[in-house]
């Protein structure tokens, strides 16, 4: 009984509280739609989530799908670059000394700063968006993989030596499995950042997706749809994090 209260009732109370604050604010702030108004104006997007009516005028799941696809590509690109980079940094002291300052400088740069550069270099919005997502999201992967490699206990290296494993075997049998949980912590954080970046990049490039839709509806003065997008972004981000957290937990259990 008590678990049911803590698992369902308490979170539900939190949601209701947020709804009340939102309603209160909406009553006092001009142009801020109330929850009810948001629902009324957005329900067509939620009730027909896969409907395609125009370039931007699409069901919310379809829009989220476009965004997820873009995030997936960008994140994958970042992971493909970030994971080997993390291994190199973890294995070689020279390499680590050489590139550590560079990474520390590149890491805090905002996606909004990278995007114009991407547009200049690639001339097109789609590759520019991927470039920005990859570049912004790969750092947790790099850093976690690196620290994973560095924290492999000496005994595992000794086992690899005693068993006279080849370089390739040492990688597949010792290095990779020992680093895997760290890598996935990195992937989870990276995916979270990639999802943050998507909105900014879609806003600036005007590509179809949740972020692009948000910006277009802002320009069309349909404010209820902005709230719909915000909620969608939050829910999808939460689900992504839960999914990665689950994979990570399974890996740590080994």
């Amino acid at each position: 009984m008590r678990t049911r209260i803590t698992n369902i009732v308490l979170p539900a109370t939190g949601v209701v509280c947020l709804g009340l604050i939102w309603t209160l604010l909406a009553a006092n702030v001009k142009d801020l739609p109330s929850p009810l108004k948001t629902w009324q104006e957005s329900k067509i997007y939620i009730l027909q989530p896969l409907e395609k009516r125009g370039e931007m005028d699409q069901g919310i799941l379809l829009l989220a799908y476009y965004s997820l696809l873009r995030v997936g590509k960008g994140f994958l690109l970042g992971a493909l670059i970030g994971t080997p980079l993390g291994f190199l940094l973890g294995l070689s002291k020279t390499f680590s000394r050489m590139f550590d300052p560079v990474i520390q400088v590149l890491r805090p740069i905002s996606p909004l700063a990278w995007l114009p550069l991407g547009l200049i270099v690639f001339q097109k919005s789609e590759p520019a968006a991927l470039f920005t997502i990859a570049l912004c999201s790969m750092w947790p992967t790099v850093i976690n993989t690196m620290s994973g490699v560095k924290s492999i206990p000496q005994e595992y290296w000794n086992v690899a030596k005693v068993l006279r494993l080849s370089k390739f075997q040492t990688f597949t049998k010792v290095l990779a499995p020992a680093t895997l949980p760290y890598m996935f912590t990195g992937y989870r954080l990276s995916l979270g950042i990639a999802w943050l970046v998507i909105v900014a990049s879609e806003m600036l490039t005007g590509t179809p997706g949740v972020g692009g839709f948000l910006w277009q509806e802002y320009n069309s003065l349909i404010y209820a749809h902005i709230l719909l997008c915000i909620l969608t972004i939050g829910v999808v981000g939460f689900l992504l994090d839960r999914m990665m957290g689950y994979i990570e937990m399974r890996l740590r259990a080994i």
Binding site: E155, Y156, N158, V159, K161, V162, L163, R164, L165, K173, V174, P177, A178, I254
Partner: protein, 282 residues
């Protein structure tokens, strides 16, 4: 025939502040098929010596020869049992052992390697736990896997680094007997160097006991022959006059360097604790 020759081996570790001499001009000769135990206090540099002998680390001066050839990296016919089991946690017991078999017999087919691994796991009484992960095994079972892993490679030289240190007394004495049995059953003679802080364990298993002074700059004492028929039992060693004499000889040698109670092997003098801390950092 001399099989292992450790000559004038010195080793020191330096940090930014100081240099710590761990071993100083250590010499040791081991004949083929012999079981030699190096007995000393925790933190005296025994593990450093074993790592150098096994080829896991390099000496500053001196050399180690196995079968007449200078050691450079792990010898192709050597196996090591570590104090902390050192099994790979993401593989089953069987796969942990098979990896060692694969390293020793790379030309064998996978099935034959698996059969060999299974055979040795059965020898140490783990036939029922082949597919368990190390985390699903008790400490004693893990060390059994580690011992099976060492013997499954059919090594001609075996290095044991305080193999039973982490185990409770009962498990310890069971495993000691099993180790003695595996050594005697081996197809070809196994030359063994064991590092231990337990004199009774050394008496039970060894042909020769070499006392080691406490570091820094640890040295080896004169080897003492243990001329007692094998297999030996613990109760026999308690009263056997030869065993009693050897025990007092070793104790006398070690207490010349420090007032200690070597019989109670787990007791670590305060200074040795500090030394151990240093060694662990290394």
């Amino acid at each position: 025939m001399t099989f292992v020759e450790i000559r004038n081996v010195s080793k020191s570790f330096s940090s930014s502040r100081s240099v710590r001499h761990v071993l100083k001009e250590v010499n040791l000769i081991v004949e083929e098929g012999e079981f030699v135990s190096v007995v000393g206090f925790t933190g005296s540099g025994k593990t450093t010596l074993l790592n150098i002998a096994a080829g896991l680390s390099q000496p500053d001066t001196g050399y180690v020869k196995i079968n007449g050839k200078e050691v450079n990296g792990i010898h192709h016919d050597a196996a090591v049992v570590f104090q902390n089991y050192s099994l790979l946690p993401w593989f089953s017991a069987l796969e942990n052992v098979r990896l060692a078999v694969g390293a020793a017999f790379p030309k064998w087919e996978r099935n034959r390697q698996l059969a060999q691994a299974e055979k040795y796991l059965e020898k140490v009484g783990l036939g029922h736990a082949l597919h368990r992960r190390p985390s699903q095994l008790s400490g004693g079972m893990r060390q059994r896997v580690a011992i099976a892993r060492a013997f499954a490679a059919e090594p001609s030289i075996l290095f044991l680094d305080e193999p039973f240190n982490a185990l409770d007394a009962l498990t310890r004495s069971n495993l000691q007997q099993e180790l003695a049995r595996l050594c005697s059953e081996a197809a070809k003679p196994v030359t063994t160097i064991m590092i231990t802080n337990n004199l009774d364990e050394a008496l039970l298993l060894s042909d020769q006991i070499v006392p080691m002074t406490r570091g820094p700059a640890a040295k080896l004492g004169t080897p003492i022959n243990v001329r007692l028929a094998k297999p030996r039992t613990e109760s026999q060693l308690l009263h056997d006059p030869t065993a009693v004499r050897i025990r007092s000889e070793v104790v006398e040698f070690l207490s010349d360097f420090i007032h200690a109670r070597p019989r109670e092997s787990q007791w670590i003098p305060p200074t040795a604790q500090a030394a151990q801390a240093v060694e662990e950092q290394i």
